[in-house]
Structures are given as structure tokens and as C-alpha cells.
Symmetry: C2
Subunit: 308 residues, 2 copies
């Protein structure tokens, strides 16, 4: 890892589909992608996601992981078409799918009944609550949400990043540029002209990584508050406005105000409301109700991007 | 059937998806709908078709039949999402799916691995070449196309319509309006004041019905020429331009010029080119090459409508 890579990886969220259950002219079915480093991390893959990826100019060839919340069609039916287009374009990179029990059978039975001739390795991981992925730069954690069938929320948790390297101080201390700088950056002392130099002289304190939590479909749930704790961004189910709180509870969804209370309790920085019911052509009532409880709220729209 | 219903049923073709294999910003995956009487007849159902139906303001509640050409994903992966939305909206009407062998297993395995709770009767018919449907007003015929896996083309053949009833002559002959008019319209004689009246006196010759043929994916094929014979409209695979004739043959597709030659041999009235490769942002080369052979050609675009 070079010094330049340590400062900000241009992490970006792209909302591909923000509709609840049924697509509308303006909103496609559930899917959010996080661009991280050279990788795509997708949360849910509703029907039409591959086309939305094209609209968002996202490559089908990149290293990619897909995290599926639950086995309702509007969260999972975009997978087969994505596989087919990836195969047609000759994708080589691995594709990893994570999801609750049932995801493997779905993928296998579609691959049996529709002929794809996959050109790439496809790995399906059936997971539960816990740490489900541990990479060099990040972990992914999951927790059960409170929906009508088993449903997982996910948190992407970037590992703490090394502190900033202070070039001016390094030069003043006459440490020659090169391998010694790197050693200091890695947190180890070096010797310059017989003098031992502590890395803390030139490297600032390590910086906390980014945390993004995705939780839909769900009623307001303590498990989600815990999962989202101090996240930079919480993407949360906000299917309905407060007048439909009873329906939300029946269907296993949240109102915008309930989502905002989860955000507040979880002490997150920013709340993004998604899975918006097709009845809202104008979603301003959702935004208004959320902002009353948690001011830093926005309603997601298709192809909206958020820089982190 | 009242007299008014006999004159023109406002038959309309709506192109929902016109792309070949991979969706683009402008073209979704294969699907065409014919509005006939109070019914929808759909040919192929690529991913995203339910959303395109919304864009075209087509109801998900109407009586409907879906004819699937073959088991490649870009022709069939819109079915599960359509089922789910129909179920969510509480559809009551029957839904009939016709397609080659494999369609039943696909529908059954998706219904097992994704929970839809269907609210309506769903009938799957695995069919071969021949007359596959015979209704009061129309028949549907199928024939094997020439693709890389078994693939069916379909012809919708409206039964001949009764001749026009001449109200002026009926009045001159002093036939009282009402049941006697209807009897004559049905082709049977009536008696008025002891005088026998031949229906041919007041009813013109029966009129041929509409014929629409759908054939994609396919290389140019004699079976398709036969299936399309004298059709009002032939909707045909035109994936490529002539410079890619070899690729077309390899992949089991047609060039625009080949489609035009099929239209010419089949003596059809109008040719509509579809399943356009994603490489053509501008499809004018396809139109030009087709028109050279068969002047009454058009290239389909998404949400294009054709009145019949």
C-alpha cells in the first residue's frame, strides 16, 4: 500500500433501486452498491438491477460481493439476469453471494433451469448473524432484522486506517524518503544516523474507518440499533408515513419516523430512507417526519450517489 | 357479441423490450404485448418487463397469456417478478404461460425458492409446434425457429370476422331492428312477414382476421416463413447488420437483411425488427439494410405502439 492510497479511497454509495415491493416509473426494486477500493459491494439485487448498473456506469467485470437481506422476490430476482449478462460478457473475477438460508437453493435451481454457462467462479455463502466476512481492509457484520420472514441487516466496517504521515516533520528530522518512511507509517521505529525515531513523532493517531449499515426490510428493531451503532450512514426501511404505522407493523416494515428513531438511538451520522412504498409519488412527507426526529435524514432516489 | 363489438377491437401491439441479450439505457430485454379485446397476449418476458408494463400503463389484473420463445434468461427472467407483483396486488384472473419444455420446471422451482403466495390460478403449458390455443375469436400457432437451443415462434391468428351488416338495406327490407338483425349477422336466414330473407342480402362477405407472427431468437428459417405466411405483422430477430452475418449464424440470430428476406418470402404486410444488439446505439444501418429488401420495415423501440 503506497502512501497516496492511505488517504481516502473514494468510497461511494450508489442507490440503484429504492422502491418498496413494486417498481414504479421513478424507482426500481431494492439495490445499493458501495464502491470501495477496486471492489463493488452490493446490498440486495431486485429485478432490473443489471440495467440500473448500466445506467450508473458500473462495470459487470469488477471484483464483487452481493449481500442479500432476505428471500422475497423484490430483493433477489435481479441475480439471475446479472449472472447471465456477466457470463455473456465473459466475466473472469469471482462473485460472492451472501444471504440467509434459501439463497443457495434459489441460485442453484435457477442455474439448473435457465442455461447460463457461467464464465466465472460463483460462491454462495448462507450466513446468520455475526461477523460474516473479514478482509484486510474491512469486515462485514450481520444481524437479524424484524421482518415477516428471516431477514438480515448488514454493516460494512472498515478497519482503522493508519494515521497521517507528516512529511514536513520527517524532512525536518532528516529521515530520508523511501523505505524508512514506510516503516514508520506501519507503526515501527527506525534508526537514522544512530538515532532511534519513534513512529508517533511523524505519524498521527490511527483514524477510524468508515461504517455503513443497510437494514431493510424491517420493523424498528433493537438488533438494528446495535448493528448500526455509530455508523457513518444508516440505510433503513422507510416504507410508510406515520398514518400507516399499523400497516407497517403488519407487513414487517417501518415508518420514516421509526427509522429516524433507530438512527437517533444508534447515534449514526446520517440516515438514508429507502424501500419507499409505490404510493408516494412525492416522498416529502417521509422526509419531514424523519427530520423531526433525526435532522440529518435524506430520502434515497434512484441513481443518487453519496460520497463517504 | 353486440354489433358494435364486431367492428374493430382496437388491437394494439406494445413493445416493452427490444434489446438483444443485454439491456441498455434505451432498450430493455425482450417482451411484446398485444392488447386484444379485454385480454393481453405477451410474447416473451425478459427481466424488467413488469416495470415496462407500468411505463406502458398496462394493468397487471387483466386476463393474460404469456408465450415464451425459449429458456434463455433474457426471454424468461421477468416472469417471477411479474408473479410477485400480481400476487401483491391481489390479482384474481387466471394467468396462462405457454413455452417449450423446461418452462414448467423453471416456474415451479422459482415458486418453491421464492415465496410469492400467489393470489391467482397459474397454468403452465409446455408446447411444441402446432396449434397450441383455440379460442372463440382466435387461434395461436407455433413453429420451431432455428436458434442454438429449442425455440418457438408464435402466430396469433384471429378467426375470420363476420361481414359488415348493412343497416340501410335492412331498413329498406323492413326488417325490424333487434333479434332478427342479430340472426342475420350470424349468417342465418330470417322470415319477415312470411318472406324468407337470405343473410347475404344484408351482410357483406366475412373479413379475414388479423395475423401477427413473433419469431425471435432465430436464424432465417423456412419454418418461420411458413408460420408468418401473409401475416399483417412479422416481428423478427434482427440482432445484427450484414457485416456480422457470420456471428449471427454462430449465435443463432439474424441480420436485418435476412429478416427482411423472411418477410418478403412470407408475403407479410409489415416487418418489425427487434432483439437489437446492444452495440447499436443508432439502429439506422439495420433499417436501411432491411428496407432495401422489404420496404415496409421498421426497427422496434421500447414503448413503441402499433395499431392494427
Amino acid at each position: 500500500m503506497g502512501l497516496e492510497e492511505m488517504s481516502g479511497r473514494g468510497v461511494k454509495l450508489l442507490f440503484l433501486g429504492t422502491s418498496g415491493s413494486i417498481p414504479t416509473k421513478e424507482r426500481n426494486l431494492s439495490s445499493v452498491v458501495m464502491k470501495y477500493d477496486s471492489e463493488l459491494l452490493m446490498f440486495d439485487c431486485g429485478e432490473g438491477t443489471q440495467r440500473q448498473m448500466g445506467m450508473a456506469k458500473l462495470s459487470l467485470a469488477k471484483k464483487m460481493k452481493i449481500f442479500i437481506s432476505h428471500m422475497h422476490g423484490d430483493h433477489v430476482l435481479g441475480l439471475p439476469g446479472l449472472f447471465q449478462s456477466m457470463a455473456l460478457l465473459g466475466r473472469q473475477n469471482d462473485l460472492d453471494i451472501y444471504g440467509p438460508r434459501g439463497i443457495r437453493k434459489f441460485v442453484e435451481s435457477v442455474n439448473k433451469t435457465v442455461q447460463f454457462n457461467l464464465s466465472f467462479p460463483l460462491h454462495v455463502h448462507e450466513v446468520r448473524a455475526g461477523r460474516i466476512d473479514n478482509e484486510k481492509l474491512y469486515e462485514v457484520h450481520s444481524a437479524w432484522t424484524d421482518h415477516v420472514i428471516p431477514c438480515l441487516g448488514y454493516s460494512f466496517v472498515e478497519k482503522p486506517k493508519p494515521g497521517r504521515f507528516n512529511v514536513q516533520i520527517a524532512r525536518r528530522l532528516q529521515i530520508p524518503e523511501g523505505p524508512l518512511w514506510k516503516t514508520l507509517q506501519m507503526g515501527k521505529p527506525v534508526k537514522v544516523k544512530g538515532r532511534k525515531i519513534d513512529p508517533r513523532l511523524v505519524v498521527g493517531p490511527s483514524r477510524p474507518g468508515i461504517k455503513v449499515t443497510y437494514a431493510t426490510d424491517t420493523r424498528p428493531a433493537p438488533g438494528v440499533v446495535f448493528l448500526a451503532s455509530r455508523a457513518d450512514v444508516l440505510i433503513h426501511d422507510a416504507c410508510f408515513d406515520s398514518s400507516l404505522e399499523e400497516k407497517a407493523s403488519q407487513d414487517g416494515h417501518s415508518t420514516a419516523a421509526q427509522a429516524a428513531r433507530v438512527a437517533k438511538r444508534g447515534k449514526v451520522r446520517k440516515l438514508i430512507l429507502t424501500h419507499i412504498s409505490a404510493r408516494y409519488r412525492d416522498s416529502s412527507i417521509l422526509l419531514k417526519e424523519a427530520k423531526k426526529v433525526f435532522p440529518n435524514s435524506v430520502v434515497a432516489s434512484d441513481l443518487m450517489t453519496v460520497d463517504l
